[in-house]
Every structure is written in C-alpha cells, then in structure tokens.
Amino acid sequence: MAFIKKLGFNLFAWAIVLAVAFPLFWMLVTSVKPAFELFRRPPTMLPETFTFEHYLRLIERTNFLTYFRNSVILSTATTIVVVAIGTLGAYSLVRFKFRGRESLAFLVLFTYLLPSVVLIIPLYLLLVQIGLANNIFSLVIAYTTFALPYALWLLRSFMAGIPEDLESAALVDGASRMGAFVDVILPQLLPGIISTALFTFILSWNEYLYALVLVNSDDARPLTTGVMNMLVSSFNIEWSLLMAASVMMSVPLIIVFAFLQSYLTRGFGAGGVKG
C-alpha cells in the first residue's frame, strides 16, 4: 500500500514536472532545428540536423542585442532602485516609531488595488510631462512603482525578524547608526535582499504592457516588446527566431536562479518568523 502511494505520488509529481518542462524543451529544440524541419508531420522530437543559424541571424541581422542591453540596464537599474529604497524604507517602518506607521505600511499596498491598465495612461502623461517618455528610465520609474510596495513588505517582515539588540549592541560598540546598519543589519537582511532583488529583476525582465505603452522608439525597447515587434507581425511569425530569442531571454534568469535559488527558498520560508 505504501509503495502504491509512493508510486502514485511520484507519477503525479513527474507529470507536473513534464507539463512545466515540455514547453521549455520544445523551445530549445525548435531554436536549433532548421526551418524546413519545423512544420514536418509527424514532428521530430529531436532535430535531425542541428543548426545555430537562427541565433547567428538574430545577433547579426536584428536589433536583438540592443533590446538585450536595454533589458539588462532596465532590470538592473530597477532592482538597484527598488532594493535601495525598499531596504531603507523597511528599516524606518520597523525601527522608527512615528504616528501612523502601520497605516503608512498598509497605504503602500493600495497600489495593488488598482489594475495596472488604469494606471498606465496617467503614468504615461506624467512621464511625457517630465520629458522621460520613450526612454528606458521611464520604464525604471514605472516598474519601481509596482515592485516597491511588494519589496517593502517583504523586506519589512525580514527586518522585523532581526533583533533590535543587535543594532543596539553595535551602537554601544561604537558604530554610527549608518555603520550599524551596514555592519549588522545588512548582512542579516541578505536573504531578504536577494529574494527582493530576484523578484524585482524577474518582474522587470518579463514586463510587457508598460513597455508596450511607454516606449515606442526601437532604441529604447526592452526584449519583450522588441522581440514581439520584430518577429511577430499580423501575417507571419518567425518561429525559429522567436524560439532562439526566447532561449536567450531565459538564459540570464536561469543563471541568476541557479546561483540564488537556495537564498530564494530560504527567503520565502524565513520571511515571517525568524528561526
């Protein structure tokens, strides 16, 4: 009985893994198939001939690298801004006692009550007014507005788990407030910072709607809208190039995840209560 239960559980688990992994596998396979093999019936599971021509074409003959660079700058900048503001904000929400502290923390979450579609137009007009439209940094600002509330809450719960005595001890030992923050609080907050950074980076890397509305010039497009605009038109979809682009878009995330995965799981587990 125990064996059957175990077997059933394993089958179920592997079925889910397969369902999740198959599209990724198909993406990878399609990107290295020559064009003529793409629509063959029955489809070939593994390509008969391997080719990297799609990758080469993408890099040499399209704006892919520009989009890629834009996405890297955009996501990195957003992550830095969000982590910096989020860490200091969470610190002040936890450590400083002031009137309306709790209300302020809840107010921050109000952003999520409004669908992003509602916010897009006002945000666009605002960015035009300050002369930032059609610029990567307009996206940095836009992404910060919706990544920051979540980051603030995540970091706040991490921060609340750091005993106040640690900071007091550092102050008595001769550190300034900033010194204590850097020497003692930040190292303790590292799992939280990494979780927040990952969340923000992935969010900015994958965002589509704001990028579509706020940026129209090709020089400033990030990967998501850039690739769509370039390879998907009303009449034709360049499947091979699209898949090659998708693989290359996924690689940075996979690398980042591979390195920080243990922090991320630890982060989600440890956010509420510090063990």
């Binding site: 005993p163 005595d165 640690l166 007091s168 001890a169 550092a170 102050l171 008595v172 030992d173 001769g174 550190a175 300034s176 010194g179 020497d183 003692v184 190292p187 303790q188």
Partner: protein, 389 residues
C-alpha cells in the same frame, strides 16, 4: 573608572512615564544592581545610561561628563545584553574585535587584545566559531568578552544571566563578582532576580513603577527595607506582611490585628496612629516559643531547612523558617513568638514607608526596646509577655 550620576532623570514614552525623576549616585568602581519587577523602569534606566534612549528631562553624568546628548559609542561604556546580541555572521574573534575595529585600533593590536580577552574567558578554542555553534554559556562569555576587550569606564549588564540554567547561573555569578574585583570598574547590573542582586552588588537600587524605592547595600536593604514594597520584594520566602492598626501610648506603640497584639516600642517621628502594616521575616518567627496561637498549614522541606506556613487565630498567614531538625506536622496547633528586634512597621499603602527607628538610633535607648506581644484577649495590653529570651 567613573562615577555615574543620575539627576532628576525622567523618561516618558507618549503619555506613559517609565522613569519618574530618578536621582542615583553611583560611585567609582562600585557594583550596583538595578532591581525590580518587570516594567519598573530598570531597563529603561540602563538604556538611558547606554545612550539607547534619551531622557525626557534631567541629566546623566559619567565621570563628571554630561552624556545626555552623546551617542552610545561616545560614552565609553560597554554593555552585555540579555539576548547576548552577538553578531551572527561574525566569528567569535570578529565579535570580540568589533568594538576595537570601530574605534580604529590597528589590526595587530586588535588581535593581541582579542587573544588576551579570550584567554581570560577561556574562549581561545572557540575564536573561529560562529555564535550559533556555541552553547548558551559560551555565547554569554563571548558577549562578556566583547564588553571587556575595550576596557571601558562603565560596564552595563542587562539581565545577562537570565537565559542560563540554574547551575551555570550560580557559577557565572561568582565569575562576575571575581571579574569586578579584578577590574575594579564601575558596573551597573539590571536584574529582576533578587538573589543575583543580593549576592553580587555593593549596593542595590530597588525600583518600582519608575521610582527609586531604596538605594543601599544588600544587608541594609534586607534588614531595613525602606518601605513595604522593598520588604515584600527582597527575601525568599518573602517577608510576611500583616495589615492592622497602630495605637500610641506615650512613647510606646502597639500594633493590633485579629489574633495578634504586639507592643512595638518606640517608632520614628513619622509614625501615625491608624492603619499600618507589620512585617516579619520567616527566620524571625520562632515556633514553639511565646504565646501567639497558630496552626501549621503546610511544611516545605528543602533539605537544609523547613519552611512552615502558619495561620494565626485571626486568619492571617505567616511564614516561618526552621532548621531541618525541627519537625512540625500540618494541622498541629502551636505557639509562636516573633523576634522583637526584627519586626518591621510600615505605613499604609503598597509603598508605605518603614516607621521603625533606624538601627543606630534603636541601640541608644535600651529599656523600651524589647518588643512584646500579648494574646488578643487583652485590649489594654496588660498581660505583657516577653517574646524572646
């Protein structure tokens, strides 16, 4: 070394006043305990001395230097926290070296000081470990090491032993006293454990409700508690306190309550006729002597002594301490006597002050001093019997 002086220090948190105008004068090299129940303001007082809280009004001086507005790091103090507050991501050596590092001590010198401190506290083997790899006692020693390494003017200790088990606590008490003797530094020690305060301190500051109740050496706090609160807080088992009425006949006072009438001799000038409270410590109750009727309710045997819980005829309860050899049975009717020189009379209220004459003054006029007691039958107090030989 430094004297610590609190002058009219007051601390408010919003509408709550944690410390009410505290005046405290701690001398150089003294070991002083701030003792009191939780919420009495002792930790707030210590945190104000550390610079982690700032007084609402009043002044704090360390070694003739006004420190009110100085940051903690500028006060030349070191503090051991109840939670130890070791930096989890640093090794033991880095933890101990941190205060030196923050003061710009050269690395070579840091290492030398850390090694010396580690030797003193037997931490040499543990220097490379992280705090989470240490036992509670070892963590405690590291916290102590981090405080010692810099040789500060004043040591602040915030219930440093409360997280240790009883055996280790006893051991660390002795260690701390020895350390204090060796260093000769001023130490301010916060605790709610009266045993720690009694055994370690040169003087104890007993606090309650944000106010200083008494500041005196342990023996004095025990023998002459300033008021009813101090009397009830110090001593295990606690002093028995019985409410009753105080009456005056010339220079002599009598304390009356159900089942007990006691001539208490002369009292301080502040004494007033009317409601009052009589206090007697368990070791000052003699069973099998005297003439007060009581019933044995419960006997607790601790091995080296017995604690006997008695009930007086009027319903009042009384605790007595006897030698382990004296055996009393629950339910037994006994006669008891109270040691004449050691009964305390307190004014009304939970903090009624002590109305006995100070010890020095009591010794002078000998004849009227013997405290006597009478059975409650005699309202006039004519059948006076000697309570003690």
């Amino acid at each position: 070394m430094a004297a610590v002086v609190f002058s009219k220090v007051r601390k408010e948190f919003g509408s709550f006043t944690a410390v009410h105008g505290l005046d405290l004068n701690i001398e150089e090299g003294e070991f002083v305990s701030l003792l009191g129940p939780s919420g009495c303001g002792k930790t707030t007082t210590l945190r104000m001395l550390a610079g982690l809280e700032f007084p609402t009004s009043g002044s704090i001086e360390i070694g003739d230097r006004l420190v009110n507005d100085l940051a903690p790091g500028q006060r030349d103090i070191a503090m051991v926290f109840q939670s130890y507050a070791l930096y989890p991501h640093m090794s033991v050596a880095q933890n101990i070296a941190y205060p030196l590092k923050k003061r710009g001590v050269p690395t070579a010198e840091q290492r030398k000081s850390v090694e010396a401190t580690a030797t003193l506290l037997q931490l040499t083997e543990l220097l490379e470990r992280k705090p989470r790899q240490l036992s509670g006692g070892q963590q405690q020693r590291v916290a102590l090491g981090r405080a010692l390494v810099r040789d500060p003017k004043v040591f602040l200790l915030d219930e440093p032993l409360s997280n240790l088990d009883a055996k280790l606590r006893g051991y660390m008490r002795v260690e701390l006293v020895e350390l204090h003797r060796r260093l000769g530094r001023t130490m301010v020690y916060v605790t709610h454990d009266q045993l720690e305060a009694m055994t370690m301190s040169d003087r104890i500051a007993v606090m309650d409700g944000g106010e200083l109740q008494q500041f005196a050496p342990p023996t004095k706090v025990y023998a002459e508690p300033a008021n009813r609160f101090v009397a009830s807080f110090i001593g295990t088992p606690a002093m028995t306190l019985v409410d009753g009425e105080l009456a005056r006949e010339g220079d002599s006072w009598t304390f009356n309550t159900d089942g007990l009438s006691l001539s208490v001799g002369t009292l301080a000038d502040a004494a007033e006729a009317g409601s009052a409270c009589l206090g007697v410590r368990p070791e000052n109750v003699r069973i099998g002597q005297g003439s007060i009727s009581a019933t044995v309710k419960v006997v607790e045997k601790t091995g080296h002594e017995n604690i006997v819980f008695l009930k007086l005829a009027g319903g009042h309860r009384l605790t007595a301490r006897t030698s382990a050899q004296e055996v009393w049975q629950p339910g037994e009717a006994v006669k008891i006597a109270l040691d004449a020189d050691h009964v305390h009379i307190f004014g009304p209220g939970s903090r009624g002050s002590r109305w006995n004459r100070p010890a020095a003054a009591q010794e002078a006029p000998a004849p009227a001093q013997k405290t006597s007691m009478t059975p409650p039958t005699s309202k006039t107090g004519s059948t006076v019997q000697e309570a003690t030989p």
